[in-house]
Symmetry: C2
Subunit: 333 residues, 2 copies
């Protein structure tokens, strides 16, 4: 049975995904490219996946975006949310959910190659599903993210999709960001992300795009070369608070940025993760200022370099490209 | 000029290593295997490296372990330790040092294949160099680590070596560990690592080796499959506090563990990082209990899986192997 275990020193929760358990010999790096006709995510092969949880359909009733349970879920809702201790250790059920968003009925690998309207539909599905998941009070956070390409951790099937994971614990990195933003707010009484937007708009060195109310920029201290953040210029804590027009603008910006990565960096593997303030119902006291101090954004990280022991062991990252040069390079097309 | 930049939200320092700056086309994954005779780290080719900083020599005067400045240093001591702010951002000189420890004069790739006495000499060199670096009061932490194999971030030359980085800032991951251990100590008045040792000794499920006063174990909540920690059973905050006999015992345990990884997991890439309490001279007030609450250990992480966007973006790791099964498997030979 899979479970969540907490590192007793760092407080980081880890999913022990025993159902994916592998023998050591299974760790070989095989890349299987499925013939196109066999793709279970293409229109016509719906019977090869689990029953859909949700879909957006066109006027003829054909689906445009389809959500199914992950075929290899890390977290599942069919268990009680048990919690227990053992000596200095804490563990709990691997409770939650794990969904796959099939972003197009066509066999297209990279989100960069979808139409803007299609990307907008994907964003809309994110918000609808997150809203649904929020109803379960045992869920603490919903993470919306994408793995594209082998080095980004994607599976062998080259059909554009993303993932929604709902977890019963706060995620360490997200929590640190919330706490960091709160601490900045407490000192300055201003949102750190809003301050970053103004600084970037006045320096103009790290901005890649400034369109539709969104900034796409290379962060001042990125962990990875060509890392890009997209954020609304207007202060907005909740990703799911975006309206229809903003969603369309964001889809346009995402299409442009992902196309730049594809063309300029030779179709690299990449990840993106959406960081939003957690559900409003959480932290009624502790996070009372969260509407003021957090600001949603998307972190896009192309996978161009390896991460060495120094970085894993110290949390001290080495970025081999000057952020200002990365931004200049990405602005060029 | 390389510099350190601080993420204004997370407080994480990043090295912007502009001297390594690459054009996007340079990110191709080339592996160059150097012919053995051309290895600059082998005995006889000393003229191909910078002047040595330190060495351990045998009775005939031949070196056994040799320390040189890194050929591509991330941090350098030939700059002033300047610090400045720019709007919400903080930056400082990439001040510090970066040394390479050549672990053998022979062209041997994996530390697992060195003699125990040779590994002991490497450990001794770590302590001697760290003691030397400590004299510079601008240095906050010394990280001792190894990258072995391509997936662990090692370079193309297959000659066993490790690295010593001295940084002018506290490293995020290490600081979190110090703070986590302190917080556990404040609550329980016991060292969390000592409690982990007793728990593991009574459960006996995750111990791989229990020899020479050291435990080698798979942690309860590992981030990576087959991750192993080696720690002294006796409470000891400072790695460099180990005596000659303990150093020899540790070398024996390391040789056994690295050989197990090599044989059982098919010579995987791996990293190890030594986590020790920082120099005694630091934190005279804040860390006043550090002798009681921290406990040095070595974290060894084979690189068998890819890390996906979910993990980077959330700090929420997925380990596909049950730690108890990993330990059982590693105990078998």
């Amino acid at each position: 049975m899979p479970e969540l275990r907490k590192d007793p020193i760092l407080g980081r929760w880890v999913i022990i995904a025993t159902e994916r358990a592998k023998r050591p010999k299974d760790f070989k790096r095989d890349i299987v490219n499925l013939p196109e006709g066999d793709c279970p995510f293409c229109r016509g092969n719906e019977h090869e996946t689990s029953a859909e949880l949700f879909s957006i359909r066109d006027d003829k009733g054909d689906w445009r975006v389809r959500v199914i349970p992950s075929r290899k879920p890390f977290l599942k809702s069919d268990d009680k949310l048990w919690k227990k201790g053992k000596g200095p250790y804490d563990l709990m059920a691997a409770f939650g959910s794990h969904e796959t968003v099939i972003e197009t009925p066509e066999h297209i690998a990279n989100m960069a190659d979808l139409e803007v309207a299609q990307i907008k539909d994907v964003l809309r599905v994110y918000c609808i599903r997150a809203g649904e998941i929020e109803k379960d009070l045992r869920i603490k956070y919903v993470l919306l993210f994408k793995n594209y390409g082998y080095d980004a951790g994607a599976g062998p099937i080259k059909h554009s999709r993303s993932q929604i994971i709902a977890a019963p614990v706060n995620l360490k990195r997200v929590k640190e960001e919330l706490e960091g933003a709160k601490s900045y707010y407490n000192y300055h009484q201003r949102c750190v992300f809003c301050d970053i937007c103004s600084q970037e708009l006045s320096q103009k060195e790290r901005i890649v795009l400034d369109e539709e109310g969104f900034l796409a920029l290379v962060p001042f201290a990125p962990r990875f070369p060509f890392e890009i953040w997209i954020m609304p210029k207007k202060h907005s804590p909740y990703f799911c608070g975006i309206n229809d027009g903003e969603m369309y603008g964001l889809a346009k910006v995402m299409k442009k940025i992902l196309t730049k990565l594809k063309v300029l960096l030779n179709d690299p593997a990449y990840n993106y993760v959406i960081h939003t303030a957690p559900f409003k119902r959480q932290y009624p006291g502790y996070w009372s200022t969260i509407d003021d101090d957090f600001h949603w954004h998307i972190e896009i990280t192309p996978r161009l370099t390896r991460v060495a022991g120094f970085e894993w062991g110290s949390g001290f990252y080495i970025c081999p490209v000057l952020p200002e040069e990365a931004a200049k390079f990405l602005r060029e097309i």
